[in-house]
Symmetry: D2
Subunit: 476 residues, 4 copies
């Protein structure tokens, strides 16, 4: 079987000791929907049996009925959102949480991140007779637990995780415990919250707000917490030595602006990225226009620091959604116009700063710039609130190949011509570190994982082997 989607961004959520376990799980996953929209799953337990619901589509569409919540019996539950990949890969087996029947009882597991030695582990496990049911890297962890000779389930989990490399923030559920664990580098976030007598684990704090829970603390890199009827027990099974390397791109784009990560407010860090862009500004700017909606916080910081008006120069059509999936040629050439329209009176004759949080391929931004030009802008200055994205992520963010990234195919000097604008500026790497509260990037051991901007990977990813068997599944 092939690992068809080796890296994906996702969300995890877990709750323990509440009559509303399933409802809280549904709401938490809804609040974390931005981290994955393809599919979601929830597993609950009543201390004896397990209850499961997996579905393609959004949480609000697939888990909104009372009958779903009623099915998910019990006072503890975990859930998972998966990132959207192409529809043809739809396969129910690949929806998390995974659930296993172990000698010690049931175990459900949900994973955010990406294991960098998954292929090697899989090959070894297949050789010893383990049957994989999915194409996900995560499944290797379950098999490692199942075949571990550790005495207790805790020992087996630690044994299994000590064999994997890469990024993981995981929540696990047994008949009587909710477990959270974060890899020693702490690449992906995981936070602990509390609501009356119940404990919650989530990828981001915005999942606490929706159910009215209080943020307690971040789970630390390399930490494993075991939540039972006796409370929260913390351990550090992988030792303490490594400095952490949290993903700096969570601040730039991935996390929700109203979340707090490591004590920092994401919206504020994005505004500060905009401010840093403003400090480096060398051109005259009449009006600051965000690319909706991702560019708004940085635009506001930039506009405020520059003392320039912020205007909605691009109007978004709210009704695009999952639409025009099979466009005709007549429609396809319209491209960006299905989603956006230039707001002429704020652009005409103006020197426009067009601000976005990042550029991947640059295809859409090029059309947006052209639309703004057609609306009569005098000058267009593209401002990006992070450095140039030059390298593929191996720790859980789905990215195109390096060769498709605009920053690898075009130099900064070539970009103005490519985008047909007057100037293009990115945020410097040290300015990005200042925006998240550092004085700059430390070398050779930077405080964050910034591999996408620098190519310096905290763990070298495995070289890819061919899979033993390739299975192609036609979705229903």
């Amino acid at each position: 079987m092939t690992i068809d989607k080796p890296r994906e961004e996702c969300a995890v959520f877990g709750v323990f000791n509440t009559q509303d376990a399933a409802a809280h799980c549904v709401l938490g996953l809804h609040a974390l929907q931005h981290r994955g929209q393809e599919a979601s799953g929830i597993v609950s337990t009543d201390g004896k049996d397990f209850f499961q619901r997996l579905a393609f589509g959004r949480v609000g569409d697939q888990f909104n009925k009372g009958s779903v919540i009623d099915h998910l019996v019990g006072t503890a539950a975990i859930g998972h959102n998966r990132y959207s990949t192409s529809g043809s890969k739809q396969n129910y087996a690949n929806i998390q949480p995974l659930i296993a029947e172990l000698e010690t009882g049931g175990l459900a597991l949900a994973h955010n991140g990406n294991l960098t030695n998954a292929r090697e582990l899989r090959t070894k496990l297949v050789r010893r007779g383990c049957l994989f049911r999915t194409s996900m890297d995560t499944e290797a962890v379950i098999h490692l637990i199942a075949v571990s000779e550790g005495e207790t389930l805790h020992d087996k989990i630690v044994d299994a995780l000590s064999r994997v490399e890469g990024a993981y923030s995981m929540v696990l559920l047994t008949e009587d415990a909710l477990i959270g664990v974060r890899d020693p580098l702490g690449v992906r976030p995981l936070v602990l919250g509390q609501l009356e007598g119940s404990w919650i684990l989530a990828s981001e704090t915005c999942a606490f707000d929706i159910i009215g829970a209080e943020f307690v603390r971040d789970i630390e890199p390399g930490e494993m917490v075991t939540i039972t009827a006796d409370g929260v027990q913390s351990s550090r099974p992988f030792g303490n030595s490594q400095p952490s390397r949290f993903c700096i791109f969570e601040y730039v784009y991935f996390s929700r602006p109203d979340s707090f990560i490591q004590g920092r407010h994401v919206y504020d860090t994005r505004k500060r990225m905009g401010e840093e862009l403003a400090y480096a500004e060398t051109h005259d700017i009449d009006v600051v226009v965000p690319v909706p909606d991702s560019g708004v916080p940085a635009s506001l910081g930039y506009a405020q620091a520059l003392g320039c008006p912020f205007e909605l120069g691009i109007i978004r059509n709210h009704y695009v959604g999952r639409t025009f999936i099979e466009p005709t040629d007549e429609i396809r050439h319209l491209g960006v116009k299905l989603k956006h329209n230039a707001n002429r009176t704020v652009l005409k004759g103006k020197k426009v700063a067009l601000v976005d949080d990042s550029i991947v391929r640059g295809t859409t931004l090029r059309k947006v710039a052209s639309m703004i030009r057609d609306a009569g802008a005098k000058e267009i200055h593209i401002r990006i609130s992070c450095p140039q994205w030059i390298a593929t992520c191996h720790y859980g963010v789905d990215t195109p190949k390096s060769s498709e990234l605009i920053a690898t195919t075009h130099t900064l000097e070539q970009m103005p011509e490519h985008f047909n604008v007057e100037s293009v500026q990115y945020l410097g790497i040290d300015a990005l570190y200042r925006a998240v509260g550092e004085t700059g990037r430390s070398a050779p051991s930077p405080q964050y994982c910034d591999a996408c901007f620098t190519g310096e990977y905290p763990v070298q990813p495995e070289e890819t082997d061919d899979p033993i068997v390739q299975v192609h599944t036609l979705s229903a």
Copy 2:
């Protein structure tokens, strides 16, 4: 049959003389989706036969396939979007354009607005043996045309329209002509555009932008334009005497911010409404927070005029859509949290101006205010960029009964306590007129229809009779 939805806001679109008639119609309706999301329809003609597609749901979901566009043969087409009503009323017969087989040939018709003597007309027409197939006021117009003794189709249409009262912007399609007509008061918008050799009629100019067409002019109140192979012919069949009464609420809320109406840019008028609010401000404000997304343009105008920072103090969850339609009790009490979350660091300890474009029932705003309070705001000042909404619209905007409007159940003085905020201010009626370019409201003949704010209706609506027959249809 009952006229179950006597008043609804809608969009119309028509195009003549282009190979891309159907595709342009689809795109135009997509750009006008904000005016009606329940259902859409398109009728095209190849000069001989007619081709029809009616569907519930959004244009981008229901008309996006090549096979749909291929079905809609011909070089002329008209289309319609209908406002969303409760799902249980779904009835295919009520989707426009209506299409009729007349002695003179085929006729399709799409209508934005509301007829105020529809019930009376219907009763008369039923008495003479006309069979109504829908519960829509619009159908009376078709019957009036069919039974008119006018010689030409043009005569019949004028004869029919001279018998109806109320608001209408209509597009009609025959084998060889596209017709646009606006009621003498000009309550609803209708604009004329051009793209190479083709002519376009649309509710708003944003529908021109998406297909790259140019705005030519507004269709004037009481004007009828007939577009044939010979070009555009204008007539004024209802005389010229009445001063027009365009709906001022189109500027406040209904039209898209990037549209131009009567030569005015909607976004700019909304910003000016915010500025007028600022000129009247008597409190200290630390930060300006819009209710997303409707309050943003007024917030920007208000913040700029006041010199106060504009911040996204409320973060919207983009994944709500048509979700949680059957919420459980656990979920229902969460109310506003499914859609919005407070952005704490920009609110904590601040005097917050919370700006929205209008209040209808006020239910959501009350929850939003409470959420902002919980996030630590020191003071909350609600600012609304239009006057108090005190009267039901009879000309095409679906509104609750007067008795459900917050402005009829609470005095301005009672509102701070009701919303649990420090102050509530609305825009004055003269300030609103200034924002749209007047020096103030003229009495006794105001320049706009502002009945929703003043209760002064330009045409008295009929007193409602009981329908002859009531039919209840169970949707599929």
Copy 3:
């Protein structure tokens, strides 16, 4: 608009004065499903309002939920099944019962049969301003009623029906009456039943059996019955002069074998058709094999009369249903094998009489014969329990054009070669009349409509004009 399906076989059902009106209507239509499987509709009334449910698909799938029955409030209801046409013609407007708002109140109408002057009526009605909403001939009747100058509704209905020609068995529902009417020739069946205090009208008696009702009598040709709280009133508004012409093909194929028509049991008449075939038999026959399932009753009669064993020589696959609708080439060439398989041991080395009720195009029968040959039959003798079908039906049975009928393209002498069998015999027309209880066919005024076998139409159908307008609707 085009009358896209001018002739179709259908079922009607009506019930008056029972708390179970909707449930009985659902069950009656289910029992009559063989007369039309494309779509069904039910309209009920509580004496004031009307309640409607129209749906594509089978009654058992679309009307089986309690919520449907609960929606159809009231103690009187009528329903209709429509014959299956090609899927692309799906149009909700064309599902019956039609429902109209008249000056006298509501009226619902369901029709089995075909009007032979529908096009002419439609043209006239359009000229006087009537708007047609469907492409069905039935709609002309409703318009004729609506514009009639008759004083009472009864007068209007009689006035309208006196202007139509062709075949109709109709049920009509008003707020306080259930009406049944049959054209003067009585081409289509309509029967009256009773269950405790309620009255039932149905196309066939099998609809009485399913609800436990008792058969009272046939509605007579040209009779109109009006059922109200005061009981059943019969009238003969069209006079009495014409002899009736019931469709003899109802006995041959269309009606359910367990129904009684005109006092005759359909299964018995079919067995007698087989017996008549046997009396004319000139070949040696070893085994009698029916084409499943339509050929079974005639086969039994034939086998018993001949003293030959009856065997299931063809095994039907029960799981074909609506399947293989988009077959690949690999599958299409298999043709008949998807549905049938030869049962070898009963065929091998035998002289087989292969019995069916009728042949239309003969395509399937040719493949069946070939399959039986491949299974080792020594001789194959095709026996058909009706005469050669040589003419299109204009009174409500959907048939191919005459030029596609095997009996018009091949002489009886050519058929053995065409089917690659030893002999082909049809039932003679007089033998058919004997099977239904006559001593033979009377000329020049036969006792039945047998136009499909003789080409002698009781009413000449109209010559077809072009429709005024042609509308092509893309189904949802």
Copy 4:
């Protein structure tokens, strides 16, 4: 996890070396649809990759599109039909073929039968760390293969199967081989066919007829055939000693009448069962009426042997299908009438023999008898063409618990009163053996598995333990 459906009747099909592998697999499964209607799956291989399609519903509905056949690339394929269980248990993981990634490459497996030591095997395998993905007994076989220390895949399969007990006819697919294997008792059927250069394995010969293949021979009990590019290789890995025990109920009910099993034609054996019933007849019979459709072949044999007329005394409604799944109370009490109606004229005043192949609970038969009584039958004599069913099947036929079987709750003497008929007779066990070609039942080692009639199981089933973990899945 629970083994929620431990015993089910199913169909298997495999094809090797044809360009039409997928199409033939679809057709073969369609012909075998009577053995399982809940779900089907196909796995194909092009010699390198595997291609999979699993779906709930019927083959003709779910595999009929060209795109499905196009997806299933390759010249070899296997498929499986699963028996219909209650809808709430729908779980994609439980559709076969199962597919595994082994060290030796890919392996797909489809199974008809039931393992009697599945629970014990599962517990052992879970203890050594095997992760089960389904609740099916079949999965244990795949795990046993995966962890086997056999050198070749052939060795591993033999090793695995030597550890399982119970009934299995399996087809397996690897990159370069199609394997068929039957348990030493040969409880379930498996036949080998040929079509030009390709080989086919199927549960019944009717699957050969549909694709035009020729029957070669039965796979023998305990035989394993390996089909590769080099042809068919046969082995007997489990030795030869045991006499076979084919399921006699396949002849009575399960197999299609047009199939040949062990050289015997199923239709003929069923007619002979009817003849044996006739030989034992002691009552006067006027007319023989089958319960449609299962009772028809035995009825014919019975009627012919008795010299009595065979008539369709019960008319089946062909449109029931998957309908009335949520019946209202009004509909539910109608029971059998939704499916069947009495055909009065053949029943009235007659002494009726009502023939069926078997009785399980007897609920439906009781209603049928009552319906026949209401239609005027003078006497009713129930005749069943197999012995009394007294014991649950443990080898692959889904049956109710013994305590729900009519033959365990009622003595033969009590039955006439229970069914309200004049007499009830079953076929004797020796007569049944005579019908399938034996001179009678041999004791103590009968020639067939007849445990359902005798309670003598060829292999004692395991005592059921509780599962380790119970997972409840809510279907989509």
